[in-house]
């Protein structure tokens, strides 16, 4: 075998390796709870899912699998990543170290509610988290959604308005109907939760109820005549005095104050 032929052969052998190692997504993975990891048909409760940007790449870390998995939509496949190459940052985000060696696990299939793939003979998937249906406490929702938790931490409610609301002497209930699947709720729910937390111990209580996509089919929605989310039914005692909906939720504490001022 000539020198040239040996070089060509070596190059041909190395090419697949370089393709496997070419993990384009490297850093800035933040934890998300919008998706869950499923293995053998059931949700893996210990799995952590991280996302880069809106969905440039997803990283799945779990004790149930040998190596973390990198799901790259643009490449349409799933790669195994060495756990040693997963660098957790102090702020909770994760970086993949440069030149991470990854083995391809094959292509994924896009389904209605996620993507599925084969993991060494086991059916696996990155699936949209099932929506929250029914009553929920503040802590339940903060635990349910990392996005809610992060958004609530980032929101600064107006202190003067909160003080005014904390001084309210009438028994007020704001029953908030929301959809964990609803994009507008995704924007305002963290703010509402932040205000709800701030009003703990006051006479104003915020209750939460998650509705399914078919709002009209839910008995609680029928009972309260809810046709859109997020909707807040404001009660003083047992008497409904107003509803908060649409863009009014932009500043939840102000929306509640405005209702109570007029009631």
């Amino acid at each position: 075998m000539t020198e040239t032929m040996r070089r060509i052969l070596a190059l041909a052998l190395l090419l697949p390796l370089t393709a496997v190692a070419a993990v384009s997504a490297q850093d800035g993975f933040r934890p998300t709870s919008e998706y869950v990891f499923e293995l053998d048909g059931s949700t893996d409760p210990g799995a952590e899912v991280f996302v880069q940007g809106q969905g440039a790449a997803f990283l799945i870390v779990s004790d149930s699998i040998e190596s973390p998995l990198l799901v790259e939509p643009r490449a349409g496949d799933v790669k195994a990543v060495s756990l040693l190459k997963v660098a957790r940052q102090a702020d909770g985000t994760v970086n993949l170290l440069p030149n991470a060696v990854a083995a391809s696990e094959g292509a994924f299939t896009v389904e209605m509610d996620g993507v599925t793939f084969d993991l060494d003979g086991h059916p696996a998937g990155l699936m949209v988290k099932p929506p929250w249906i029914g009553d929920a406490g503040i802590q339940d929702l903060l635990d349910y959604s990392l996005e809610y938790r992060r958004g609530a931490e980032d929101y600064t409610a107006s202190e003067p308005i909160l003080r005014e609301l904390q001084a309210e002497d009438r028994p007020v209930t704001v029953r908030v109907f929301f959809g964990s699947w609803c994009p507008h709720c995704q924007m305002v729910m963290p703010r509402i939760l932040k205000v709800a937390e701030a009003l703990r111990g006051s006479k104003i209580a915020l209750e939460f109820y998650g509705l399914p996509r078919g709002i009209g089919d839910d008995p609680e929605a029928k009972r309260w005549d809810i046709d859109g989310v997020p909707t807040g039914v404001v009660l003083i005692g047992d008497r409904e005095v107003a509803r908060i909906s649409g863009g009014e939720w932009k500043i939840p504490e102000l929306a509640i104050k405005n209702v109570l001022d007029g009631a």
Binding site: E72, G247, K250
Partner: protein, 312 residues
């Protein structure tokens, strides 16, 4: 008629006013005939003829009657069709007003005779159309022409102007008139971009409060469209490199469509889903982009954001 100058002048004023209103209304639709056809479809007026056909017929009628009245043609042959057109507009706005009063939500918003460009509540649309169209029509009818002699100059001029108007409407989508044809133009604030009425009213500042502070590049996009890969890659690199201003895509899509888009394209930028009635008045064709500084639109581009494409 010539014997009663008051009546004649009232007729002229009424005719010119009605003609001007019809022409302004036609102008708002001619800038984006496609959006007008969508409204026709949303109103369920495309039973026998297709929505674009109905839209072009209505546009021709509006332009023709508008120019005829502006040129002083106040004969029953013009005023009677004008009355029918007015009744049609009032039927649409009145129906929307009636639904609104009863709290019934509809896909089509009450835009009345002014298309997407002018935002009005159902009540404003109905009463506005009644005042702006009904009153001048009554004046024009009271002072209508009764001479036997009928000059040809004004009708011919009206026909020629109508043809010119229709040619303009045909070419308008290709002309750089987005700022004029839509509610999105430099100087507009996000809090001014709203849709719906009453408790259902929603504005951009409420939908995406984070866009109100700092500088953002915003792209209006149809997630189901075939995208320009080079432009998308530029958008993607910009976001992955964490360059400023940050890119946000606004789209009217279902969560399923967002999901399908995510797993096909793997977007690195943020995507905010917005209701169609809020987005549709902001563009003629997609994608359309703009730059926002502290909640105010400072620059717009047809297609993808120019700085991003230039910087790629």
């Amino acid at each position: 008629m010539g014997r009663d100058p008051v009546r004649r002048w009232v007729g002229i004023v009424g005719g010119v006013a009605l003609g001007a209103v019809l022409l302004f209304a036609a102008w708002t639709k001619a800038l984006d005939p496609g959006a007008f056809a969508e409204q026709i479809r949303a109103e369920g007026l495309d039973g026998v003829l297709s929505a674009p056909t109905v839209a072009w017929i209505a546009l021709a009628l509006e332009i023709g009657l508008g120019f005829a009245l502006l040129f002083g043609v106040r004969r029953p042959a013009v005023l009677v069709p004008a009355a029918l057109l007015i009744v049609f507009f009032l039927f649409l706005t009145g129906r929307a007003y009636w639904y609104d009063l009863r709290g019934i939500e509809r896909e089509a918003s009450a835009c009345g005779c002014f298309g997407h460009l002018v935002e009005r509540s159902p009540a404003e649309a109905f009463w506005g159309d009644l005042a702006l169209l009904g009153v001048p029509w009554l004046l024009a009818w009271w002072g209508r022409s009764r001479e036997r002699r009928r000059g040809l100059a004004a009708p011919v001029a009206a026909v020629l102007a109508t043809v010119a108007g229709l040619v303009f409407a045909w070419k308008a989508p290709e002309l750089p008139l987005d700022d004029l044809a839509t509610r999105l133009s430099p100087g507009v604030t996000l809090s001014q971009l709203c849709a719906g009425s009453g408790a259902e009213r929603i504005c951009f500042d409420g939908l995406a409060p984070d866009l109100e502070e700092g500088e953002h590049l915003i792209v209006l996009l149809d997630l189901t469209d075939e995208l320009d890969e080079a432009a998308f890659d530029a958008l993607q690199s910009w976001s992955l490199e964490g360059r400023e201003p940050a890119v946000t895509v606004l789209a009217d899509a279902s969560p399923e469509q967002l999901h399908a888009f995510t797993f096909r394209w793997g977007p690195a930028f943020e995507i905010v889903l917005a209701p169609g009635p809020l987005l549709r008045p902001l563009y003629r064709t997609l994608p359309r982009s703009f730059r926002v500084v502290d909640g105010t639109v400072v620059e717009t581009w047809p297609g993808w954001p120019a700085p991003l494409i230039a910087g790629s």
